[in-house]
Subunit: 361 residues, 2 copies
């Protein structure tokens, strides 16, 4: 079976590493000449809107999936004429637009920070009057890793904020005093069977994920599964979806969903019986889902800008390196390490050992 | 770092799956147009004696390693002029010739079945007179999976046996009444550091490995490590080496070595902290070795001729599929499954569950 992937970055690369042992082969459509997944499959180098090459991809593969959610709706619609596409167009339409996404949470009774649609500076002024400050103005589409957003703390910050983000459709979100950030990675099969990985506690710096620690018997696991299950059913979702929450007052408030394998699920490669990458492929190809149970106590540390010396990283016991083969560049995710330890105390020690190798670039 | 691999079959494929997350890339030299490792790297399609293409490989990569031991000595010598080659030429010279191999065991004081060099029918007659029947006549080179050998039970079997194996250099080996077949996979770094995986109990049918079960605290582990350590030191070996033994009278008799990653070590992908594939790459590239400790209780089942329906294999709990992406063909190794279970009882149950899916082809 040949899988087409829109995007050829590290997520595509890890999908191929997981799918090759299942007998799958891969084609990646990505305009970047140095797409790092290309080492593991065919690289169709073309823009995401290039219909000739999209048609070529559709003709070559059994189904198409995505590495990122900002794929143009036209691309999804075009591909869907020729080949099955998972997750479905509606999932992508919702997930790539924060207004649609937050509105869906509200419709499904899932708590989320106050929010308002902002299509103009006048809208923003009205929204600030209603929601108050501090608040966060975010572009409705194309934001990631802290990009495309601006924190508004004082009235002066509001002036011209809409223009500063490019005068594109935005939402304003009320500021949330959270005690933690957690995410739940779930997988749903074509027949609706759904499995959930353990809740993960995430630490961000400058808007970029740095550390994910898989929890053991988290008290909010059941609540998170309830919320994520509502979204998966609503979208008749197929594949892996990640749902990020804020922990607030002992409950959860929805932040955002990612309709794809997710950075906060990378620990599952070594830390779970069946990784998020293999489970995504199992789901979209109609194979039985794999176990989401943990193997030991796990954490994931991102390497941003550069991968520390390989010999030093792999010399840390219980540590597994994932080098993405990308050029090093400040602020860019270029690799990660998974720790899989016998107990939590050891895990904390080994997290510190890997953190000691990371320098900010 | 780019690694050159002589051979592009499933061992090369699994090396690439292990090395890619370490940031390595791969080139495979293999004459087969459908070499199954080619999906994961560059494929230089050429004969193993093709000096132009060997030179191309040497120019492109940082070092060269091997997927099989029957590489012509001239190939190794030629490559060694231009690029580091691991394991060394001497390791390959010994391992690919049963006479050299058995003579080395004898020199190192490692028990091995009686054996004699057979270069003619007259040599064979003399060897049979000395060793007795039953005995096994084996070609000195190029034998694998039970090929290139003939069991001699009665005096009639001896007549013309040398011609039947092609009148090529052979050895005669005394028949061993063994109670089991075990193998030890070891890895030795450039600096001589050596690590051993747990002893594995192997079951063959028609000369082909069917089942490997990793042991827990095997009483012969220390003895096997002693024997394998002698060979590794003698050869100043770098990389993974597998050593197959017969269990006889509560001790071990050496059968053969394989100077490479080995089928009886495939369980380490899921069943050990660091797989034989990653550890081989760590050793040959001068990186620190990884832990050879077990993760749970593991076994490996080979798929010979065909891979059972993927959906059925991966529906078995605790089961991990490795499909080699090769055309199905009777007697050919086309995939394997690893089981990784919480305890031995569960492991036995799940072995039976996978065996129930395998039909002889």
């Amino acid at each position: 079976m040949k899988i087409g992937v829109i995007g050829g970055g590290q997520l595509g690369r890890m999908l191929a590493l997981a799918g090759t042992p299942l007998g799958m082969s891969f084609a990646f459509l990505d305009p970047a000449p140095d797409a790092c997944a290309a080492a593991l499959g065919e690289h169709i180098r073309a823009d995401y809107g290039d219909q000739d090459h999209l048609r070529q991809l559709a003709d070559e593969v059994d189904l198409v999936t995505f590495e990122f959610e900002s794929v143009p709706a036209e691309t999804v619609a075009f591909l869907s004429q020729f080949v099955p596409v998972y997750p479905c167009a509606e999932s992508l339409r919702i997930a790539r637009d924060r207004w649609f996404e937050k509105s869906m949470f509200k419709d499904l009774g899932i708590p989320t920070p106050d929010f308002a649609n902002v299509l103009s500076q006048a809208d923003l002024d009205a929204a600030v009057a209603c929601i108050g400050l501090p608040a966060v103005l975010k572009t409705r589409t194309l934001g990631y890793d802290g990009k495309g957003q601006k924190v508004l703390r004082k009235p002066e910050d509001v002036i011209d904020a809409f223009a500063e983000l490019g005068s594109v459709p935005c939402i304003l979100e009320g500021f949330v005093l959270f005690t933690g950030e957690v995410s739940l990675v779930a997988v749903r099969a074509r027949d609706g069977e759904t499995r959930f990985y353990p809740l993960v506690h995430n630490t961000h710096e400058s808007g970029i994920l740095r550390l994910s620690v898989a929890s053991s018997y988290h008290p909010l696991q059941a609540l998170a599964e309830d919320y994520v299950g509502r979204v998966l059913s609503k979208l008749d979702y197929v594949g892996v979806l990640a749902f990020e929450f804020f922990e607030v007052d002992g409950g959860l408030k929805a932040n955002e969903i990612a309709p794809r394998v997710h950075n906060s699920g990378h620990w599952t490669i070594e830390g779970a019986e069946c990784s998020q990458f293999e489970n995504h492929l199992r789901a979209v190809t109609g194979l039985p889902l794999g176990s989401t149970a943990k193997v030991g106590e796990s954490a994931m540390l991102n390497f941003i800008g550069e991968v520390p010396a390989v010999a030093q990283v792999i010399a840390v016991e219980d540590c597994h390196l994932h080098h993405y083969g990308k050029a090093f560049k400040s602020g860019r995710k270029v690799g990660h390490a998974t720790l899989r330890c016998a107990d939590r105390e050891r895990l904390q020690q080994q997290i510190a050992a890997v953190e000691a190798l990371i320098r900010d670039v």
